[in-house]
């Protein structure tokens, strides 16, 4: 087993790093976070230059690389600016579902424009407390009613992949989930609110109501596989990657600061107490990287080992990101608490991605379940 990136992978990593260093300004990031605005122009540039579609097949406008290469890119983006990196990473959240479970027509209609027109897509999976989202068949397709909450990019998505329940026509007592593609501007789709989140503030998180929304039959993503489970697995790797980038960025900034800051007549990095803290962090970040890269490789290899690897990567990397941000703020001292510096934002962003879509409590439960075979 050889560890190491190929030359091509190194080039991709370097290219992504250069792009992020050039385009992600921390002052812009700070203001976007404060105002709760999506980094549209940076996202559009990332689409144009091929970063967003790096893992899409060439025939749909992509670069035909794998999730692993996407992981390298997102890690670099989040390392440079946690908020901007997360935003770009989440902007094509539904692409995986469409690519892997959609038909040819759906891929051409809903995936290709993403890169050309800089569309944003998202997945609406979490039912609101009081309203499950139900679909009923009608002559032309489906009629959907219900509410979804915590929809990432809900108010700015051009395309929403909506998971609803439908009663099986063969057995009315069973309910099964189906994913339907819903255009953001389709009649009956109503944005009902936006959450104020601790971090990840460039990305709107919305409650969306679906009021008798008529959806054509060809918008249903069919297929035998459980596309929701596959989506959740892919999302875990995505979240783990964002966390890995944030952890690396927080850790690097801590070292940078400790090398410059002088107290007691020396640079504070010369204090062994801080070196021990940094050594711990460094080790944790490397361990997280190993888990994330391995999960991404498993994904591309369609390995049967994919879960619980994806869960483990998600669990470990997000915990490391929060810890790295907390410790990095500590090493920065007073300035770490000030919004003038990007480090406090990294804690807020790390904590938010750790808990928004799933929790690490769930990851532990899933991993535990696998172990018991229950």
């Amino acid at each position: 087993m050889e560890f190491g990136l190929t030359d091509t992978q190194r080039d991709i990593q370097r290219g992504a790093r250069r792009f992020a260093e050039k385009e992600f300004d921390s002052k812009i990031g700070r203001d976007l976070d404060k105002d709760g605005k999506f980094p549209k122009s940076i996202f559009e540039k990332a689409c144009r230059l091929g970063w967003v579609g790096i893992d899409y097949p060439e025939e749909y406008g992509g670069q035909s690389f794998g999730l692993f290469e996407k992981v390298l890119v997102i890690e670099e983006f989040c390392r440079r600016d946690s908020g901007i990196g997360i935003s770009i990473s989440l902007a094509d959240m539904a692409s995986g579902i469409i690519l892997r479970h959609g038909d040819e027509q759906q891929k051409r209609r809903f995936l290709m424009p993403l890169l050309e027109e800089k569309w944003i897509n998202t997945v609406a999976a979490t039912d609101s407390v009081n309203a499950r989202t139900k679909a009923e068949e009608d002559p032309s397709g489906y009629v959907v009613s219900g509410k979804k909450s915590f929809v990432v990019n809900g108010s700015i998505a051009n395309t929403i992949v909506l998971f609803c329940e439908i009663r099986s026509s063969s057995d009315p007592d069973t309910v099964k989930p189906i994913p339907l593609i819903v255009e953001g501007d389709r009649e009956g789709v109503k944005i009902e609110g936006r959450k104020t989140t601790m971090g990840m503030r460039m990305v709107p998180v919305n409650e969306i109501a679906f009021e008798q929304v008529k959806i054509p039959r060809d918008h249903c993503i069919g297929g035998e596989e459980d596309s929701l489970a596959a989506f959740l697995t892919e999302q875990r790797i995505r979240t783990a990657t964002q966390a890995l980038g944030i952890a690396q960025g927080a850790f690097e900034r801590a070292i940078e600061h400790a090398k410059i800051r002088e107290q007691f007549g020396r640079k504070i990095i010369q204090f062994q107490g801080l070196q021990f803290m940094l050594a711990e962090l460094c080790t944790q970040v490397e361990a997280a990287r190993s888990l994330v890269y391995r999960a991404a490789c498993n994904y591309d290899a369609k390995s049967s080992d994919l879960e619980p690897m994806a869960s483990m990567a998600r669990l470990f990397a997000t915990d490391v990101a929060v810890r790295a941000a907390v410790d990095s703020i500590q090493i920065h001292g007073g300035i770490g608490l000030m919004k003038e510096y990007p480090i406090e934002r990294m804690l807020r962003d790390a904590k938010t991605i750790q808990n928004l879509e799933e929790t690490n409590l769930l990851q532990r439960a899933l991993i535990g379940k696998r172990m018991t075979g229950l």
Binding site: I329, Q330, G334, K339, T359
Partner: protein, 372 residues
């Protein structure tokens, strides 16, 4: 010997309970706007919470450290910023309490029953290293002239009376001065936009040929460092009490919220994994609490222990961060929204690991004592 709360403590807790609803309703505005909560401050003054440590002779509560810690913990359970406002005021008061002459006490103690005090030591080159202070003071006739900049002074923009630590021409080390905001040459600079404790923002204080009357020397020339250290020995337990309050508040919020029912299929609190987490949280909070009240009791018995105060501060502030962090996870997606206070608790708690001596400095202090 178990910790007992007296009737006086219980009635203070009751008093605070009566103010809780009003204060909680202000939490989000304080957090959004960083506006100093003058209404809460006035309410604390009227209810004789603000002046708790001021001796009865001057109209204050004459309360001991233990009582002050009880009050701070109680308020911090539902509003860390409001508790920090008190802690910051008492931090500003403590050097005066310890070193004022009776003339100075007559002048300042009555005022501080309703006006805010602050403590200004930190400078850009003097964070953990107080020896880096470069503010200058020199005699000029009957006065002192001060020049320099202090940063990160808790609620320094709202304080009327600030203890300022400076170098002093002709003297070694630091010297402390009581500086009234009204003195010429004193102004407030940047008010920081900070991650947490946003009701008590950190302020820059600028001294430009600031004229300080001769009678405002605090203690003796060159005694400044000792004054600062003696102060922190007595105020670290209060920051620790604040942290215990945050941790307890986060834990109780999670338990309370569960009674209303979680919107998920399996209520987290029914999961044994989460139950173990809650048990660990309760253990840590109680351990921190005991350390706080031990340190406070020692102060009140006239046996202040640098080590106990430092250990309490270090452990309790680390605990508050861990517990508020865990509380967010138990609430899940709800926990990272502004609909619940736990994300604010984490942002507030983080600050306390850094102020009044970072927890790395605390470890330095503790290990030095252990090895001496």
């Amino acid at each position: 010997m178990s910790i007992q709360l007296s009737e006086k403590h219980k009635s203070l807790i009751q008093k605070i309970g009566d103010m809780k609803e009003k204060i909680v309703s202000r939490n989000r505005t304080m957090d959004e706007t960083q506006e100093f909560p003058w209404d809460i401050c006035k309410m604390f003054a009227e209810k004789h919470i603000l002046d708790l440590p001021i001796p009865e002779k001057y109209g204050g509560g004459g309360s001991d450290s233990f009582t002050c810690c009880v009050v701070i913990e109680e308020i911090a359970r539902f509003s860390p910023s409001a508790a920090h406002m008190l802690a910051g005021h008492w931090l500003g008061f403590t050097p005066l309490e310890l070193y004022c002459t009776s003339v100075q006490k007559d002048e300042y103690f009555p005022r501080l029953r309703s006006e805010i005090a602050a403590f200004a030591l930190t400078e850009p080159a003097a964070g953990s290293d107080a020896g880096g202070v470069i503010t200058k003071a020199e005699r000029k006739g009957n006065n002192f002239i001060l020049n320099g900049t202090k940063i990160y002074c808790t609620q320094g923009n709202e304080a009327k009376v600030v203890t300022i630590f400076s170098t002093f021409t002709g003297s070694k080390g630091l010297t402390a001065f009581i500086v009234d905001k009204s003195f010429s040459g004193f102004s407030v600079g940047t008010i920081e936009n900070q991650m947490g404790m946003r009701g008590t923002p950190a302020a820059e204080l600028v001294l430009q040929d600031c004229v300080v009357p001769g009678g405002n020397l605090l203690g003796k020339e060159g005694q400044g460092f000792n004054i600062a250290m003696a102060t922190l020995d007595r105020t670290r337990p209060k920051d620790a009490a604040l942290s215990v309050g945050i941790a307890q508040g986060a834990l109780e919020y999670v338990l309370d919220y569960s009674k209303k029912g979680f919107p998920s299929k399996v209520p987290p609190l029914k999961s044994q994994g989460v139950q173990f987490m809650l048990a660990d949280m309760a253990i840590a909070v109680q351990a921190a609490r005991l350390m706080v009240y031990e340190a406070a009791a020692l102060i009140d018995e006239g046996r202040v222990s640098t080590q106990q105060s430092s250990m309490a501060k270090c452990f309790a502030t680390d605990t508050a961060v861990k517990i508020s962090d865990g509380a967010i996870e138990i609430l899940g997606a709800e926990g990272i929204t502004a609909d619940h206070p736990v994300e604010m608790f984490l942002r507030d708690a983080k600050l306390l690991q850094i102020v009044e001596g970072t927890n790395q400095i605390q470890r330095l202090i503790i290990s030095r004592i252990l090895l001496s």
